[in-house]
Every structure is written in C-alpha cells, then in structure tokens.
C-alpha cells in the first residue's frame, strides 16, 4: 500500500487545473467604461465606419484606450466615466443615421490575449448588472382571428372565380368558418376549390335537405406552423425596434411556444422599452414618379404635385406618387429564396385577396414602370436643443415629439402583371434578400404581445447585489477554511486547497459556458462551498475510523478513499437530481441557482476525490509513515 498515483493521474489533474485557472482569470480584471456602436436593424458595420469613429474621437480630443471592430460592432474602451459620456454625446451627434445604435457599456478589462483564447469574464444576470427584463406572451388567438378573416376573403374570391354559388361564409366561435349551400353539387364543387387552393383547412360537413354546410377549421399542423412563424416575426420586429434604445447587449430569446424573453442590460426606464415594443410600423407600396428628377426636387425643395419626396436608406432621393397601392396590412408573407430560372436572390411576397386585386389592377396598367416599397415607423423621441441638451416643460419633464420615419427599401421595375404572389428581383446578394424579407415581415408585430413578467433592477441595486454576493462567498469560504484546519489539521489544509480549486473551477466553467450568473446563482456557489467539503469529511472520517480499527496509516488512507467513494457518488447524484429538476422548472434567477449548484456538485466531486488524493499521495505516498496529521 504505497499510495502512489501513476503519472497520468497527476497529468490529468494538471490538465484540468491549468485551463481552469486560465478561464477563471478574466474575472480578476474587472471592467472599463466603454461605448458600443452596433449596426441597427440588421445593418453591419465595416472598416469605413471604424475610421469615421476614430476621426470623431480624434476631433473631440477623446483618447480611447482601444477602438475595435468585430461581429458585434465597434467597441471603444475609455479611461473613465467622464470620457465615456463625452464620447457618447459626440458619437450621437455625428453618427445621426439610424443604422447606428450607440450605447454605454462596460467592457472587460482583461488583456487581449485572453480574449483570443475565448477566455471571458462570467456573464452577469440583470439582477447583478442592472437592467430591464420582460417576459412577453403572444396572443396567438387574436392573430389567428385575423388570419381566418383573410382566409374568408380569399375563399370568397376563389369561389367566385370557380363560379360556385354559396349562401354565405360565417365566422364561428372557435376560429372556424361555416359555408352554406343550396344543394349537394355546389357543396362538392366548393370542396374541389378547397382541396386545390386551401390545403391548410380541415373540412367537415353537416346539415342537408336544402341547407348543406361545410365547416372549415385550421389544421393543427398549420396552426402550430403559424404560431412558430408569428413568434419568429415578432422577435425580428422586436430586435429591430429595441436597437434605438441604446442598449449594448440586448437579448431577444424564444421561450417555449408562445413566449419571448427580452433583456435590456443597463436600461433604467422600463417605460421607454414598453413604448418601443408597442410601436407600430408598417409598409406601403407606391408607384415611382419617373417624370420628374428627384435630385432636383431634393435640392430646390420644389416637389411636383401628386408626388412626395422620399429617400432610400443610403440617403438617395426618390419621388413617389401620393396614391398608396396597398399597405403592409395586406401582406401575408415574405420569404427570401433563389430564383429557379436565373439563380439570383429574390424575395417572394404573398398578398391577401384585397391586396392581390389592387396589385393586379395597378401593375397591369404600369408594366415597365417602377414600384417602391416604403417602410414607415412612428416613434416618440426626446427633444434636444442645438447642444444636445434635453428640452423640458415647465414641470421639468422632458419634451417629446412624435417622429414619423419613412424610408424606401427598394424600388424595382414591374416586369409583368402581378397578383397574389410576386417576387422582388434585382437584389445584390442572398444576405440582402434575407434582410429585405425580414424587414418586410417584421414591419409590424404579427400578433399582439402582453408583458406577463417584468423585472427591473436599478444600477445601485445591481452593484450592491454583487458586493453582498462576493462578501458572503468570502465569509462562508473563510469560516469553512478555519473550521477544516482546526478539525483535520494537515488533511484540513488539503481539503481547503481542494475547496479553493473547486471555487476556481466553478468560476472557470461559468465563464467558459457564458452561463448567466444571478444572485441566487451566487447563493448556489456559497452553498456549494459548504457542501463541497462533505466529500472530504466523509473520506477523512473513514480514514480516522480505519486508523482506530488498527490499520496502518497507508492502508487507512487507501481504505478511507476507497470506501467513501460510492457513498459520495450516491449522495451527490441525488442532490444533482434535485438540481436538474430545479433547472427544468426554473425561470431566470432560479435557473442560475440550479446551474451553479450542478456545476459545483460536479467540480467538487473531482477536486474532493481525485484532487485531494493527489496531494495526500504527494505528501504521504511511497514512504513509511508513523502517524497521520488528521
């Protein structure tokens, strides 16, 4: 019984420890104040933007520690909070285009080389960093009512086209439609129309004797499909809208079938977020006025009668006819794909019956001319004077004005008479097609959303939660350290080393996974500290027992570890069951608790069994030992 570890076991311990320390390291450096510029509404930023930002900072004589460009945008690291505010003001003034979203943020101060190894600090939850959290539920039924109304209108058109006479279409209570006919043949003819054009409707029949009926309901698969589609569309719309809130790392996440989580770190006014979420955006299709020169109209300000001056997203002017052909309300779907003939990127658009009728008529008369898609959004914004100061009313409240933003997304040439379905061609890339489809779909919320949970944490509270969390971890840790040394002497020191390593490993795993650390999560770490020594207590008590039974020190060490092993595994696995259940049921903060608890259980099993054994073997292994300091 020599208690020597083979070399590979020490290697294993080192292979776990080194990355552990490395990935825990970024958490020691803290944060620098910074400004983050992201591309709003899907726009991406490039090297030219980076140069512009650098030039603006140079003009203002703001010295930035670093200005970097990556996938998430441009990040500017600054020396202090004052420089941060000045930089934001300057950037906000100079980068006035709406494709920039400018936000104050905290940037990890860890050295660059750690970043290249994907070593980042832990991702703090909103309860620790402050911000606004919303859980929103989509009202699918309300959206489906709309959908069924459109379907009814389409159905009327199709039946008329097929010359099937009916006695009316009625809306039932359960999102169904009822069609009535005079006789059997007409009903069968209607069935044929339904089979061909409305595969998404489940058809049932009832009545007879002069009152023949068909009951139409959405198939379950179509219902689920629509639900998923509406949710995606809502998320896209929300992403577009929250860009202007000036939040560095907004999170829009799907939760289950009907819910969306929206997290806005650093935001202090939940009401602004609510306004933005509830905003309406829409689309309009207008014919292009090609008889006049838009550039001249823009310069002189003399806009021809029956036309209106618009601009593209890049600022180029364009004249459009006053008359709206149809609006986004008539649009059922927009999808990006590749043209089967030319292979070029396209966006396919599907209209409802009313839109299709109008489209058919107008495009038929205007082949060869251009039609523009206009994106319209209304928002309220704070009024500022020339210096960027906020203007207030007599009560000191900021003045707000309603701004209507209109921009032309695209203005393609009409090649053919269009109907219910048509394509927009002439796009530069697949990415552009995808963005356009998204923008077209995301113009309006597909289904109304309600906020069912809101949690806002102020900045001072967040900081206090961090301080209190860290303090209780430290106090708990120190108390346990003292107790273990007093009780187990040298072996206590070994257990303490393991406990410290365990703490480092928990932090490393959390950093590596970028799992959200919440206040209950911190409590989970504290709890793990208390429970992690349990494995060592089990082992050490066993060793003492074996010594009392008259075994030699070396044999006692061996037997102690051996016998305690299955107990430790059983005891930890059952705790893990509770933690996993917690994780599955938990929302937000509770999930954080379950995560740290689970990670803690796993890492502590490693450090307490393999780790301490390694140290004990190093100290006592391979020689004659008279007494153990236990």
């Amino acid at each position: 019984m020599l208690n020597k570890y083979p070399f590979w076991k020490y290697l294993l311990i080192i292979l776990v420890l080194l990355p552990g320390f490395l990935y825990a390291l970024p958490n020691l450096f803290g944060d620098d104040p910074g400004v983050q510029i992201r591309g709003a509404r899907g726009a991406s930023l490039g090297a030219a933007d980076l140069e512009r930002v650098e030039a603006i900072l140079a003009d203002e004589e703001i010295s930035a520690a670093a200005v970097t460009l990556d996938d998430s945008g441009i990040k500017i690291r600054l020396a202090d909070g004052d420089a941060q505010l000045r930089a934001r003001e300057a950037l906000r003034r100079e980068l006035a285009e709406r494709r920039f979203s400018i936000a104050l943020t905290l940037l990890p101060a860890a050295p660059q080389w750690l970043g290249t190894l994907y070593a980042r600090p832990m991702y703090l939850g909103l309860d620790l960093r402050g911000g606004v959290h919303f859980l929103m539920e989509m009202d699918l039924d309300a959206a489906l009512v709309d959908h069924m109304q459109n379907t009814a209108a389409d159905l009327r058109t199709e039946l008329r086209r097929a010359r099937v006479r009916h006695k009316g279409i009625r809306h039932g209570q359960e999102l169904n439609l009822r069609l009535r006919f005079d006789d059997e043949q007409r009903r069968e003819a209607a069935r044929e129309v339904l089979r061909e054009n409305f595969p998404d409707l489940a058809v049932g029949e009832s009545g007879g004797d002069g009152d023949y009926r068909l009951n139409l309901t959405l198939t379950d698969s179509r219902r689920d499909e629509l639900g998923g589609q509406y949710l995606e569309q809502n998320m896209a719309a929300l992403r577009n809208r929250i860009d202007e809130l000036g939040v560095a790392e907004p999170i829009v996440q799907r939760q289950g079938e009907r819910r969306i989580v929206l997290q806005l770190p650093g935001l202090q006014d939940p009401n602004r977020a609510k306004e933005v979420i509830g905003r309406t955006a829409t689309l309009e299709m207008r014919l292009v006025d090609e008889d006049h020169d838009p550039a001249r109209a823009a310069e002189s300000g003399a806009v021809p009668a029956e036309s209106k001056l618009y601009s593209f997203r890049n600022g180029a002017p364009i004249l459009l006819k006053d008359n709206v052909i149809y609006s986004g309300r008539n649009m059922v779907d927009a999808a990006a794909s590749l043209d089967s003939l030319s292979g070029g990127p396209i966006v396919s658009i599907t209209l409802d019956a009313a839109g299709a009728r109008k489209n058919q008529q107008v495009t038929g008369d205007n082949i060869g001319r251009r039609m523009a898609v206009v994106y319209i959004e209304t928002r309220s914004e704070v009024q500022r004077d020339a210096d960027g100061k906020i203007e207030t009313d007599a009560d000191g409240r900021p003045l707000r004005e309603t701004i209507r933003d209109e921009e032309v997304i695209t203005a393609p040439v009409i090649r053919d008479q269009l109907g219910k379905r048509f394509q927009i061609e002439g796009l530069d890339s697949v990415a552009e097609a995808r963005d356009l489809a998204l923008l077209l779909r995301a113009g309006a919320l597909a289904a109304p959303v309600h906020i069912i949970e809101e949690r806002t944490v102020g900045p001072s509270m967040g900081r206090q939660n961090i301080t209190q969390g860290v303090r209780s971890v430290v106090l708990g840790f120190v108390l346990v350290l003292i107790f273990m040394v007093l009780y187990y002497r040298l072996f206590g020191m070994v257990a303490n080393t393991a406990l410290f390593v365990n703490l480092v490993l928990i932090v490393a795993v959390l950093s590596l996974l970028q799992a959200t650390l919440t206040l209950p999560g911190v409590a989970g770490i504290v709890l793990t500290v208390g429970m992690a020594v349990d494995a060592n207590v089990l082992i050490f008590e066993r060793i003492r027992e074996e010594i009392r039974n008259g075994n030699s020190p070396q044999a006692s060490i061996h037997l102690g570890y051996d016998k305690a092993f299955s107990t430790i595994v059983d005891a930890n696995l059952t705790t893990l069951i509770a933690a996993i259940v917690l994780f599955n049921f938990g929302t937000g903060p509770i999930k954080g608790f379950a995560i740290t608890l689970s990670i803690g259980i796993l890492t502590s099993m490693f450090t307490a069994i393999v780790g301490t054994r390694g140290v004990v073997n190093l100290v006592y292994g391979g020689r004659r030992v008279r007494r153990l300091a236990i």
Binding site: G266, I451, E453, T456, G476, V480, V537
Partner: protein, 337 residues
C-alpha cells in the same frame, strides 16, 4: 480536534417513539398553519407589482403614503426595507389586466419623484440613475429606483403550479433512484424524511408569516437535495453493515450505522450552517428568505436523516435478505486483506 468522543454508541432508535412524537407535533403545527393561514405568498405567485425605492435621506413613511394616496394609489402597501432610506411599495394587480399593471411601476416612480421636482433623464443609463431637475439640469436622482418586479396574474398561477410540480418530480426522481440503488424500503424512508422536511420548512414560513417567494421555493428544493444527501450517507452505511454484521438484529445494525456516520452528519451540517449564516448576515434583504429556508432546512434535514428516515426503514421491516441479492455491490465491499 474532534467533535465527539472516539466511538459514540447512542441508542437512537430507542428514542424513536419520542422523536416520532416530536416530528408529529411539528408536522401538525405546520399543516394546521398551512390550512389556517396558508402561505404569505410573494408577488411571484400572487401577481402584482413591487417597487423598491431608495431616497437620498431618511424618509417618513406617512409622507410617502400621503403622496401615493394623492396620486390615486390608495391600495398601495408601503413598508420599510432594511435602512431608513429604503422603502418597499406593493401594488395589487390592476383591474384592467396585465398591460395596465406593467405600466404601473413607471407611474408610481413618477408620483414618488414629483415632490422632489425631478423626473428620470432619458439619457440615464449605465452606472448612475440620473434625473432632470425643475430647471432642466441633470443630477443623480434623489429618489432612486432600486428594483421593480411585476408578475401578471396568469403567470403567477403558472409559477405556483410549476413549483408544486417541480417538488413532485424531484421526489419521484429520488424515489426511483433510491429504490434502484438500494431498495424500496429505503426509497420510502428517504422520501418520507423529505416530505417531513419540506412540510416543516414551509410550515415555518407559514407560522411566522414570512414571505414565500420564488428564491424561497428554490431553497426548499435545495433542502430536498441536502437532506437527501445526509440520508443517503446513513443508508449507505446501513447497507454495508447489514453485510458485515451478519449475526446482529436489524435494530442494532441501524443503530451502529447511525453512530458511525454521526460525526460526518454533524460536521457537514456545521460547515453548511456556517455558509448559510454567511448568506443570512451578508447576503442582503433579497436573499434573506432564501437563507432562512436553508437554515431551517439544514437543521431539520440533519435531524430527519437520523431520527426519521432510518426508523421508518426499520418499521417497514428491513431485513438482511432485502440487501443480499445485489451481488455486484457485495463484491466491492469484500473483506479486506
């Protein structure tokens, strides 16, 4: 240093009638309290709005109430929260559904800030919460919003249901695991001990009218994990000793097992209690309920693994034969050189 003498030999099982009586008494008190006055559910479960506000100087509650009354919040409950500068305002759910309630918190902050002639600056973000004063100047808000929580009515119901289900799933999962690793008598014993612990912790919150929030529920589930951990260690020893002490009656085997694991049971309780105390003292108001549930849970859990779980296994009639067929386990524990 040692907590106990070298070899303890307490006759724990002899006391089982008395401890059963004590447990029964605690359970009756808990159940009666739960039936009579139920739990003081927090807004996580009832739905509603909660706003924590911090003033730049100590504030008079009566004044705050007057301000809120005047602004139409006559159903608001105002109380102190920790320091004299901090208050907590609770609003019940608004009649006009969740959309109206979600806006409440904002209107409430406006009302509280009105006497100071300040309103939240639209530029405020990041580290400090800044307000616009009467003259349009920007300064740190004198009334700082610390946190706002709003839970809609149906979401509250859902959390209540999910919470109960989580508890149930945890217990079933454990029942199955222990029955598989040990034997069904052990499974019943451990689950009975867990139900005992959960009822007493929840009963404690009911008796003392302490708010039962989502973190408290999480703590109760953690208590299940902890208490089970304790119980399993004892069961493990019982299983081992049944195989070793072939001539001894069950009562003696279980008694010896409890005694052999007693030091470990107490030591782990001590270290866990140390950290729970650290949480209770330094964790702050938000985490207090959580730490309190753990404190009670660890105490009750330690007690139950000695005085509830094992006696139940005995009463259910555990015998050596129940543990023998598992051959593989027996080999591991073979006599040592």
């Amino acid at each position: 240093m040692e907590l106990l003498k070298k070899d303890t030999n307490f006759n724990f099982l002899a006391a089982r009638r008395w401890t059963a009586l004590a447990s029964a008494a605690l359970l009756v008190v808990s159940v009666v309290a739960l039936v009579q006055q139920r739990l003081n559910f927090g807004i996580d479960f009832t739905g509603g709005t909660l706003v924590e506000v911090s003033y730049d100087e100590p504030v008079d509650l009566a004044q705050v109430r007057t301000v809120l009354d005047a602004a139409g919040y006559d159903r608001a409950i105002v109380q102190r929260f920790g320091a004299a500068r901090d208050i907590l305002v609770r609003l019940p759910l608004a009649e006009d559904g969740d959309a109206g309630a979600a806006v409440q918190s904002n209107a409430l902050m406006r009302a509280l800030r009105a006497p100071f002639a300040e309103s939240l600056s639209p530029d405020s973000s990041g580290i400090r919460q800044q307000c616009l004063g009467a003259a349009g100047e920007t300064a740190d808000c004198r009334v700082q919003m610390r946190r706002v929580e709003f839970v809609g009515p149906q979401f509250g119901d859902e959390l209540t249901e999910l919470g109960s289900l989580a508890m149930l799933y945890a217990l079933i999962g454990i029942l199955v695991y222990v029955a598989w690793r040990f034997q069904w008598r052990f499974a019943l014993g451990s689950v009975a001990a867990l139900v005992h612990d959960v009822l007493i912790v929840v009963g404690f919150f009911s008796v003392f009218r302490i708010e039962f929030s989502l973190p408290v529920l999480a703590a109760v589930l953690a208590v299940i994990g902890y208490s089970l951990n304790d119980t399993i260690v004892v069961f493990d020893r019982i299983r081992e000793n049944f195989r070793r002490m072939r001539k001894s009656p069950s009562v003696q085997v279980i008694n010896v097992s409890i005694n052999q694991t007693l030091r470990r049971t107490l030591l782990t309780s001590v270290t866990t209690l140390l950290v729970v105390l650290a949480l209770l003292i330094l964790g702050g108001e938000v985490i207090r309920g959580f730490a309190l549930a753990l404190l009670v849970g660890v105490l009750v859990g330690t007690y139950s693994s000695i005085f509830v779980a094992s006696p139940i296994v005995l009463v259910l009639g555990i015998s050596r034969g129940d543990l023998m067929p598992v051959k593989k386990e027996g080999e591991e524990q073979a006599p040592l050189p």
